[in-house]
């Protein structure tokens, strides 16, 4: 990249009229060279065809604000996207104390599974608790959704005196089985479940804790 020659003192009040044409041409060259770093520009901006001399932004012209973590709460105006160089992550700088994290380098990438562009679904995981009937088959329905296909579901019992399993899984829930193997009357049993699958964007869940 060549440096921009920029002389704000030319033409001077004592410039000869015969020199002004040189100075104006020099100014145009400098402007074109400077703008062409980020925009398609003709002349010294290297543009030569109608498609690369329009003033449109070039590929790669998007550049985030860049600073350490402290800049999340100061240093850039509202609306900037900050690249936090301490913990590599992107943040939207909003009004005071409303800076949101947008993305970070440790995001879990499922590597596929949501088809091709335009993408209309996303991966979702969630879970909750359900009270099962003792020694019986119970149906659990997810709140919200449903998943776009059959999700993966895992179950965990609140008691170590039960054998539990999954009989079937649907896009909107699952059917579990439980057998009491303790002595005496069977106590109630609560299971914690975790489900993971793809769902259409807009099909939100209201999974609860845990």
């Amino acid at each position: 990249m060549s440096a921009i020659s920029w002389f704000e003192t030319a033409p001077s009040e004592t410039s000869l009229a015969s020199l002004v044409d040189d100075e104006l041409r020099s100014m145009q060259t400098a402007i074109a060279r400077g703008l062409s770093e980020s925009f398609f520009w003709p002349g010294s901006g290297d543009g030569s065809t109608s498609t690369d001399s329009t003033g449109e932004a070039k590929l790669g012209s998007l550049r985030f604000a860049r600073a350490g973590t402290s800049a999340r709460t100061g240093g850039f105006a509202e609306g900037f996207i900050l690249l936090d160089t301490n913990r590599v992550s992107l943040h939207h700088i909003g009004p005071s104390n409303t800076t949101y994290i947008l993305a970070h380098a440790s995001m879990l990438d499922r590597g596929g599974g949501v088809g091709d562009a335009p993408f209309t679904s996303r991966w979702v995981q969630g879970g909750g608790t359900a009270m099962l009937g003792t020694d019986s088959i119970s149906t659990v329905t997810f709140t919200g959704g449903p998943f776009a296909g059959i999700p993966h579901v895992t179950l965990l019992s609140s008691s170590s005196r039960y054998l539990i399993g999954i009989r079937s899984i649907r896009s909107d829930g699952f059917t579990s089985v439980a057998s009491y193997i303790g002595s005496g009357a069977a106590p109630s049993i609560t299971v914690r479940f975790r489900s993971e699958g793809t769902a259409l964007i807009g099909n939100d869940f209201t999974f609860t804790t845990p």
Partner: protein, 198 residues
């Protein structure tokens, strides 16, 4: 989009002084036309949506110079957005990210974090419960607790989950095999929110 008329040969050495106003007006006009394409030319602000990421196949991604830091690269073949920094190239977005289904309220700088490990339970004393701490405690956001799943290595035992807190969880187990209880391993995984992780 109109091509900018940009003649760096004008005014020429032979231009009459009287042509200078026309030449200058032309320069202003064409400069403004070009700049208005991407900038709000009353203030110089960038127009919305006027900057672009790099765009190419992922193998073309290259973070070679300081000039590229804080710029973004969209891999057209893998639909992933990367950001360049001085220490490397990092994932910034993808359709394949998994999303937590719990309502996202509060904790604006919190991220969902998964922690998993194995815990060996000794045979001595034939314990029936064990509290396992998380390597890092989860955040106190709206009183929520993390999600925990666990599996046991022993085929003659059953396992349950008694309690979960932000700092750990308590497993309970029953031995129903012959002889005495032996050592076993609990494989566990948890998901919750942290505020200092990112």
């Amino acid at each position: 989009m109109t091509r900018i008329i940009w003649d760096e040969n004008l005014p020429s050495d032979g231009s009459a002084v009287g042509l200078a106003p026309d030449d200058l007006q032309s320069l202003w006009r064409n400069l403004g036309q070009g700049l208005r394409t991407s900038l709000e030319w009353s203030s110089g602000d960038l127009l919305e949506g006027k900057v672009r990421t790099f765009l190419a196949g992922q193998s073309s991604s290259s973070n070679s110079t300081a000039k590229l830091w804080a710029r973004a690269f969209f891999a057209s073949d893998t639909t992933r957005l990367f950001v360049y920094d001085s220490t490397g190239t990092y994932l910034a977005g993808t359709p394949y990210v998994i999303e937590e289904g719990r309502r996202e309220v509060g904790g604006t700088e919190a991220v969902w974090v998964s922690q998993s490990s194995t815990t060996l339970v000794a045979a001595a004393g034939a314990p029936v419960s064990l509290t396992i701490p998380f390597p890092t405690a989860y955040a106190n956001i709206l009183g929520e607790t993390p999600r925990v799943m666990q599996t046991i290595s022993h085929r003659s035992m059953t396992i349950g989950l008694s309690t979960i807190t932000r700092g750990g969880f308590t497993s309970i187990f029953s031995y129903f095999g012959p002889g005495s209880q032996s050592a076993f391993t609990i494989h566990w995984a948890s998901v919750g929110r942290m505020t200092g992780a990112i």
